[in-house]
Symmetry: C2
Amino acid sequence: MRTSQFFLSTLKEAPNEAELPSHKLMLRAGLIKKLGSGLYTWMPLGLRVLRKVEAIVREEMNKAGALELTMPAIQPAELWQESGRWAVFGPQMLKMKDRHDRDFCFGPTHEEVITDIARTEIKSYKQLPLNFYQVQTKFRDEIRPRFGVIRAREFVMKDAYSFDADVAGMAESYRKMHQAYTQVFTRLGLQFRAVKADSGAIGGDASQEFHVLAESGEDALAYCPDSDFAANVEAAEAMAPAAPRAAASEAMRDVDTPKQTTCEAVAELLGIPLQRTVKLIALMANEHLHILLLRGDHSLNEVKVGKLDGLADFRFASEEEIRAFFNCPPGFLGPVGIDRSKVRLIADRTVAAMSDFVVGANKPKFHTAGVNWGRDLPEADLVADIRNVVAGDPSPDGRGVLEICRGIEVGHIFQLGTKYSTALGCNYLDSEGQLKPMEMGCYGIGVSRIVGAAIEQSYDDKGIRFSTAMAPFAVVIVPVGYQRSEAVKAAADALYAELAGRGVEVLMDDRNERPGVMFADMELIGIPHRITIGDKSLADGKVEYVSRQAGTTELVAQADVIGFLLGKLSK
Amino acid sequence: MRTSQFFLSTLKEAPNEAELPSHKLMLRAGLIKKLGSGLYTWMPLGLRVLRKVEAIVREEMNKAGALELTMPAIQPAELWQESGRWAVFGPQMLKMKDRHDRDFCFGPTHEEVITDIARTEIKSYKQLPLNFYQVQTKFRDEIRPRFGVIRAREFVMKDAYSFDADVAGMAESYRKMHQAYTQVFTRLGLQFRAVKADSGAIGGDASQEFHVLAESGEDALAYCPDSDFAANVEAAEAMAPAAPRAAASEAMRDVDTPKQTTCEAVAELLGIPLQRTVKLIALMANEHLHILLLRGDHSLNEVKVGKLDGLADFRFASEEEIRAFFNCPPGFLGPVGIDRSKVRLIADRTVAAMSDFVVGANKPKFHTAGVNWGRDLPEADLVADIRNVVAGDPSPDGRGVLEICRGIEVGHIFQLGTKYSTALGCNYLDSEGQLKPMEMGCYGIGVSRIVGAAIEQSYDDKGIRFSTAMAPFAVVIVPVGYQRSEAVKAAADALYAELAGRGVEVLMDDRNERPGVMFADMELIGIPHRITIGDKSLADGKVEYVSRQAGTTELVAQADVIGFLLGKLSK
């Protein structure tokens, strides 16, 4: 492609609204253009990148034996009513009525539709296993679309759905998808991590997220550098401290905390580590008060709480409910001296192992220090893991301590089990003629999000640094004096024709621009390999090669340049 | 691909609702599956066909210099309000509100969005011409979706939009698209015709439709076998008869037509050709009555009427309005003896050249015969072309007579001029620094509709007959006794590997089915080239080749089969 025949549209500055580097760079490089909140046009340059990602996703899905189909984007409400999700999906689902006043949605996902296809098309165990996938435009009406294509409302997703006769088959389908995803992200040249995810709300037994590692990622990931362990922070188990609870060494006493209503403020006032404080969180469930105790520096994990016996439908207690029991305003609450017959006291594993800790005194402007289990208050009714892990926590596999990094979720694989097949009557006849529900899995890749995530992982002050696998063009030829020098034009045209003839995606920047402008544009849009052709080096029979990733420059003999480039591209 | 790894799902009978052969066959062959009214899933087999069409469309668009992008499917109402089309597009447009109660639509077309892109991205004549296209899912809420993918609600469309500095540039962009479309439909192996279309309502100067010829087509096309002339029947000009009006030869007299309220009934009663009768149509426009006269066998062309001076906003007169003027019920109306000062009499060109004709008598149960212009009533106030052409009419290019055929519209190209660029302020600076609106064109191909239209043109009682260009697989190998005969398995596997290695899209039917079942399935799904491998012919070193298109069978030496097939595929 010649620049003069193409459409390049680069900007010096990104619009103010863009927060993340990738969002700014995608706008500045002219990969995308905003139509409305969370709605982007993929401009010709950006679409080339998106298509690269799509192609690699398709190749790996096909290799794994999945079959591509395309389901409608617009789905009738009836199927969602049958699965029970029409009412519960929430405002993320874009709903509409057709001219006959019937309810439809712009499909945010396709479990219902594919299960409807499977229940009518698959009759016998002989047809199983099957895995269908599509690469399709989805819409989720995010309350706050942002980060460009990373959290857009309209986006491209690859969604796959597997159908198996039994749980072992489902596990095998899941394993194949795990392998295919690993191949996809590896081929795209991304640093990524597959992490254990929480699958509680979706149902099913196993679930993993694939994250592209990036400081700006919305998700915190816990991993163990000494082992394979990796999980979304919310899904990682916080183990009990290895050491047993120390004996009490302080007397319990009230301390003056006139304005200190947070653990941080109390610790600062008392000149003690935050790790010595304990905070109290009051929940209501089944019309009963539950009191959670967390170490001052830890954060509550609501998913874990929701899985505790009797707490599936918990909510936070209101200030009135808190005052009614404690007779004290929030900020000074504590577990000492309360009527334990009327509440359930749940201590985090870490808190259960603490001694000499500081809590609220249940009277305004006071906290109590030197508190000890057994001596000052009865042991907790339940000790459980109710917090998010932090760096330095022991790894759940016992093989080191956890570190925390951030990631952008680009893939998610689920073992669904029979949740949808049971709801929609998606059954097959087994080899003994018994009707059984199919075991399902579902597997998503955020195709358009990957482009943003990849840039988030690889850019510098000049612009984007695409891997060869994702770049809109693999090579750019920048002739200096294309309109002026016959020799430059001849050399550039010959190299262009030779590369194009070999199937290399090459861009010839034949604009009548200053070299600096052309270099800056090509660095901004992230072309990984650049050949500069000018009279000066040509006189020595050479051209200049610049690697965008490595930032290195070298002179290459004109006669060797094809082989040299093909070598670079094959890496 | 092996059938055992693929998903084939053929049916003996099509659902009752399917009317057209292509719709029945697509369902029976398992190319598509219905989700709801006008909503279809493209199953793996059908998607392969759709992808073939998409690929050829893309190749030809790229060759013509158009640049692919992808605009959002969901569009904000504001742009449509700016162009004035939000209110007028009608119920075909699927509208919705997002979670913030803002108005959006599922884009039925993208003139507004692309013009918004052009007005911000294109500043100078130096950037022109440009042609952007996309291949995208569209939604039009048809009042009566039918014919499967031919008139679906959700469908795949290729839409392109050209931007030029002047009218000559627009005409050149249009010409390139005409050429690209001709290439697309030729490569797909379709019998098609480009016809002049009416472009009145859309604006602009020129417009052509591309039709796949098929008896079941919804559109009637007029063409001249002796020349290049071809037009949608509604857009073809009906010329005045070559011969001048004959002199009056009959006396005017009333005839008894007690129950005859139509020209057909009157002609039958009187024993005269329908071509001797004239019918009257009453219209209201500008609060004024207009009376149209058409020959009994001709049909009114409302588009032509709407273009007449003063009739842009016409409507049909109500029965009350008709009775008020004629003092006679419809069915017996005529132009003789009416108060011509209060109406405008418009005669079709053919009627203006008639003599001795039969019309209503303006009294119940009577018609008047032997009516002649001049003698019995004053000449018409206006003589104009207000009817659809019929077979036998003179060709507007004066080079023969017209014939009528039927077609399925699969493409449409428009010269839009400055309709949208003016409405949306899409201007550029010309070489003299003057701000000018861009000259636009738009170009659509009904990508998914093409699959139905192609089948409508090529099927038999066994099923679909795909061209090699569109077939889901080019070649199928049917081994007879794959599980039983070592020799058959070895020969089939070797041929499959050899073809696949050469990039041929080959299906190996390795199912454990009777040959008749496999043959019937492969004929139904329309694979153009079949190789049958069985012990009997193998003993003679031969395999059997069957052409689905030609219906011919021949034995081919095993050693020659690759060359033989490659020869067939290159045709």
